[in-house]
């Protein structure tokens, strides 16, 4: 009995030793020893998650934004999201993926080795999901690339020429989104510093929020801003969009675990929790501040909670998700109420929700990330690692500044090519008729 117990202890000890050693050697070394094999469950989850993220953009974001504009601009607003999805998808296959995730060139940009997804096949990549085909990762990331420039369209809603929207989104995707993605997710310089961004708080939300601020300032206000009645024309449509966003975010954050595993579960749990808390927090603050709880408030709060928890999901416990949701709902509400004082017309509040939410989320990740939740992550300030918080502050600052400068330059370039705004008469007529010769409701 005693001998067998000892033997068992030895066996367990050896197994633990092997596990620890393999952990220390890391995925890369492991990969060189044995060819990586795609796991069917993980692959299925990432493929489904890609479809979830597609639904966030179309119809999710398209309806969310479409309901918020006036009757005469709903089709044009929807069209912007759909066209950006198509343009960025093709660009991503041809250049984008390779530049963002291709072999690192000096920490700044990916190489051209994977142009046209050549060399990106069914074999898993050791860092980009060792249990899923490399192409599945490229597809999943394609959806992220498409949603970032589409988010910005809310800032210049109801007044931008369609040609300039498409040109801007295409150039912005390659010049701003792709490098940022490389720096944070593609092994670039911020990744090497230890930046944590689980599903795109900086890469997507801060970058689009910062770009939105510049767009709103460069394009100027809508005709009649502050005097005309510009209330949302169809809040049930916006709520339907919110539903698709909330639903899709399970794939956005859950899929970022790149497998059907415990990290995906904890990411989805944190995502849903933060959305629910964000919705309640926004609605509650509004109730106290304005006397009535509103449907637009509860929908906006949910999206604020979702955007804010994005970088932290997968690194945090559910209780921190409640805290993040609460701060997101209240912080983003304050941001949109105060925007009037700054005098810019960020029509659909991209800055207040995605920019502010993204920054809160990236900083919160530096506070409450825990290796107990995700051993591949890092401990935050609250778990005795102030270094991570410093890196997260840097990530937020770099992303904001890079996106703002890049956006400004691209806007000036596009302005010189096609002009940015529609004419005053076209704006009064509405973009649906003036840009597309169509009406949503006839």
């Amino acid at each position: 009995m005693k001998a067998s117990a000892q033997r068992r202890t030895v066996v367990v000890g050896v197994m633990v030793g092997v596990l620890l050693a393999s952990g220390i050697m890391g995925g890369q070394a492991w990969a060189q020893n044995a060819p990586l094999k795609a796991d069917t469950g993980d692959t299925a989850w990432v493929l489904v998650s890609s479809a979830f993220v597609l639904a966030m953009l179309m119809p999710g974001l398209a309806l969310f934004y479409g309901g918020l504009v006036r009757t005469k601009n709903v089709l044009a607003t929807i069209m912007q999201s759909v066209m950006i999805l198509c343009v960025v998808s093709v660009l991503w296959i041809v250049f984008g993926y390779s530049l963002a995730f291709g072999p690192d060139k000096g920490g700044v940009i990916g190489g051209l080795e994977w142009v046209g997804l050549s060399g990106v096949g069914a074999e898993p990549h050791p860092t980009y999901g060792p249990t899923i085909p490399h192409q599945a990762f490229a597809l999943f990331q394609l959806m992220f690339a498409a949603i970032a420039p589409a988010l910005i369209t809310g800032a210049f809603a109801e007044r931008k020429r369609f040609t300039s929207v498409v040109l801007f989104a295409a150039i912005w995707s390659l010049v701003v989104y792709v490098p940022l993605t490389h720096w944070i997710w593609g092994g670039g310089w911020l990744a090497k510093l230890g930046a944590l961004d689980f599903a795109g708080g900086a890469v997507i939300h801060i970058s689009s929020g910062a770009a939105a601020l510049v767009c709103a300032m460069v394009l100027g206000k809508r005709r009649g801003y502050g005097t005309d009645y510009m209330a949302p024309h169809n809040l049930p449509m916006t709520l339907l969009g919110t539903g698709f966003l909330w639903f899709g975010w399970f794939g956005f954050n859950g899929g970022s675990a790149l497998g059907a595993n415990g990290i995906a579960v904890s990411a989805i749990l944190a995502t849903h929790t933060a959305a629910a808390m964000g919705a309640m927090a926004w609605c509650g603050v509004e109730w106290v501040h304005r006397g009535k709880p509103t449907v637009l408030g509860i929908a906006s709060g949910a999206v604020a909670g979702l955007a804010t928890v994005t970088p932290a999901a997968g690194f945090i416990s559910p209780l921190f998700a409640i805290a993040i949701g609460a701060v997101a709902g209240m912080g983003c509400y304050a941001a949109i109420v105060w925007k009037g004082r700054f005098g810019y017309d960020d029509s659909l509040d991209v800055v207040g929700i995605h920019g502010v939410g993204g920054i809160i989320g990236i900083l919160a990740t530096g506070l409450c990330a825990s290796k107990v939740i995700n051993p591949a992550g890092a401990d935050g300030l609250l778990f005795g690692n102030p270094g991570l918080f410093g890196v997260q502050v840097l990530v937020a600052a770099v992303t904001t500044v890079f996106s703002m400068v890049g956006t400004f330059v691209i806007l000036k370039l596009v302005d010189s090519m096609t002009g940015l705004r529609v004419s005053s008469e076209e704006e009064a007529t509405g973009l649906d008729l003036s840009q597309h010769n169509e009406r949503a409701y006839s």
Binding site: M230, A231, P232, E286, K292, Y333, G340
Partner: protein, 112 residues
């Protein structure tokens, strides 16, 4: 002859119509209108952006009657359209100089 224009709350339209039919009024014209009186409008708030909506939806009912019917119509509309709260509406009465029934060419009170 008089033309009576009653501006009432939209949800009171059916009650007013039924009450008028009961006292023998045979026809009326109804228009959806917007306006305000002492009620003023209401406020709407979207993400902290406040809009004052001055023009409130109302229904305008037009009834052409002979002079002997005027008092009864006024009483009937007032009774049927009244809720007692602000914004119940107003009734205007104007002289009607001529009426023609298009189908027959009749004029005057027989055309009412």
């Amino acid at each position: 002859m008089k033309l009576i224009e009653a501006i009432v709350k939209p949800f009171k339209l059916d009650e007013v119509k039924d009450a008028l039919l009961e006292i023998g009024i045979q026809g009326m014209t109804v228009t959806e209108v917007k306006g305000f009186g002492r009620q003023k409008g209401h406020k709407e708030t979207y993400r902290g952006q406040e809009y004052t909506i001055e023009f409130v939806p109302k229904v305008k009912i037009e009834v052409a009657v002979n002079d002997s019917q005027v008092q009864r119509v006024l009483e009937t509309v007032t009774r049927a359209a009244k809720t007692g709260s602000i914004g119940d509406g107003k009734i205007f009465v104007r002289d009607l100089s001529a009426v023609v029934r298009i189908r027959t060419g009749e004029t005057g009170e027989s055309a009412l």
